[in-house]
């Protein structure tokens, strides 16, 4: 019970101090707009809102979570306030779950914004919302733990952003959102299958447009595996690097 009081208050503190700040809320709104506009310019014709929705939602989650978490943890680590959390009598796993839950929540909200906007323009009645929500949640969890892994690996905020891009941009271009994986050069295809976003985007494609090509249960399992692996690697790195 005592640990859960700490968990809840760390989560609330992060929501208030970081995620619900006006600049971050506006980021959550502007970012999906920017992506939609980019697709529109690329198509040079009427944009297929429903067709691009899985991509915009996935990228909104990926960029929202990794950016926020990499900054907040690195920033707290630099100002030494993170030490205060490490010295609290709660387990490291619970502490890191508390620190990441806010980002997961922020990521899910980021994905909902383009869906809400799209609902005003196109008919979204055929979508399997349950599967779509689960996939958004799993993309958010995986991306957040990727952000955690990045923030644990660096010491400066700018390093966190640079290192994030090292993961984000290959994912963006190789996960099948811009170019279908089947159309990628044979050499690059294996890389696509080791990127978590490939599986998250594919479930979203299946649930929104029915054009995914991996069985959703496989994608769910792979995303769960990625999440677990990234979380364990991050906590291992914290034990090794921060409790030295």
């Amino acid at each position: 019970m005592k640990s859960w009081i700490a968990f809840w208050n760390i989560l609330m503190k992060d929501m208030k101090n970081y995620y619900l700040k006006p600049p971050n809320i506006s980021w959550g709104i502007i970012f999906p707009f920017a992506w939609t506009l980019m697709f529109f310019l690329r198509s040079e014709s009427a944009v297929d809102i429903k067709g691009i929705l899985p991509g915009v939602m996935s990228l909104s989650v990926l960029f929202g979570t990794t950016s926020m978490l990499a900054v907040t943890i690195t920033f707290e680590r630099k100002s030494r306030s993170f030490e205060r959390l490490l010295l609290a009598p709660i387990s490291l796993n619970l502490l890191m779950l508390a620190k990441t839950t806010g980002a997961i929540f922020f990521g899910v909200l980021n994905a909902l914004i383009p869906a809400i906007f799209a609902s005003f323009v196109v008919d979204l009645s055929g979508i399997n919302w349950m599967t779509a929500f689960l996939s958004v949640l799993l993309i958010a969890v995986t991306s957040t733990f990727l952000g955690l892994f990045i923030s644990v690996s660096v010491s400066e905020v700018f390093e966190a952003q640079t290192f994030s891009n090292f993961f984000r941009f290959p994912m963006m271009f190789l996960c099948g959102l811009f170019i279908p994986i089947q159309n990628l050069p044979a050499l690059l295809r294996p890389i696509s299958y080791i990127l978590p976003l490939t599986y998250g985007a594919d479930i979203l494609k299946t649930s929104i447009n029915g054009d995914g090509f991996i069985a959703p249960w496989i994608s769910f399992l792979v995303l769960l595996g990625f999440s677990l692996l990234l979380f364990l690697m991050s906590t291992h790195n914290i034990q090794k690097k921060w409790i030295y």
Partner: protein, 321 residues
Amino acid sequence: MNILEVNNLTKDYGGFMAVKGIDFSVKKGEIFGFLGPNGAGKTTTINMLTGLTRPTSGSIILSGIDLVKNIKKAQGIIGIVPDESNLYDEMNGFDNLTFCASLYGMEKAKREKRAKELLEQFGLADTGKKPFKVYSKGMKRKLTIAAGIIHEPEILFLDEPTTGIDVESARQIRKLILSLNENGTTIFLTTHYIEEAERLCHRVGFIVDGRIVRLGTLDELMQEVQNEYTVQFTLEGGLLNVKEALKSQFSDYSVSVLGDNAVKIQSSSKVNLIPFIKFFEENNIMVYEAKVVRPSLEEVFVKITGIELEKMEKEKEGDRK
């Protein structure tokens, strides 16, 4: 009764031994001072005692809990005030305190009541609703101490509590430390202000190069310089011109020239002042004052470690910059 027992504690950073098998204990209810120059192993030791660093070997027993094996249980009864005020800039004083209390599982009503009491006790009630970032250095330090004790720990680790703050705030913090101790909190204090340790601590340990070189009550440590007599002269000026002559004429004594107008004479026997006064008279230097200086912990420290305090303080200030 000991609240903290440290046995053969060692920290090896891949070939660099920061702490070399130290043993000491802290009695329940005392203020224990841990003194040493930069790089002596103070921070590494405090980090091992609080769970931020894993010992390479040795044992730490805190209130009957094996800290190495059960760190999270031990952290529940520890309060920590780091050498930098590391609270949250965006949050106000009250929210910072209640947040810190929540990390120890305190219920909302209890933590809010305690936060109000502490803000009152620490003279911060008027600024409790202001963001931490607008606090002065002294206020930040006080709030950080309040955050360290909000969960009523059995032992409080205070790392350099008065470094870098104004004289009045430092005085207030010393009073707070004494009042916390009077109320039963055991305090583990690291400081590079030796006179602060002398004023506050019941027992002191000196750590140099990863080893504890002396440990004891203030009286026990003072025994080291009990047979030393020190006289300090305050003069009109012009001392630097006769510095060498003074030293050679009084070679039986240890003569330390403290600038152009002060000199310190140390001896293992009582100092006869007349020859000194004659010397100054012959050299047309007026003597304003001659006083017997009581041996201090500072002298014990210098004698044991061979480290000049001025150098130590400069190093510390340099690190902060």
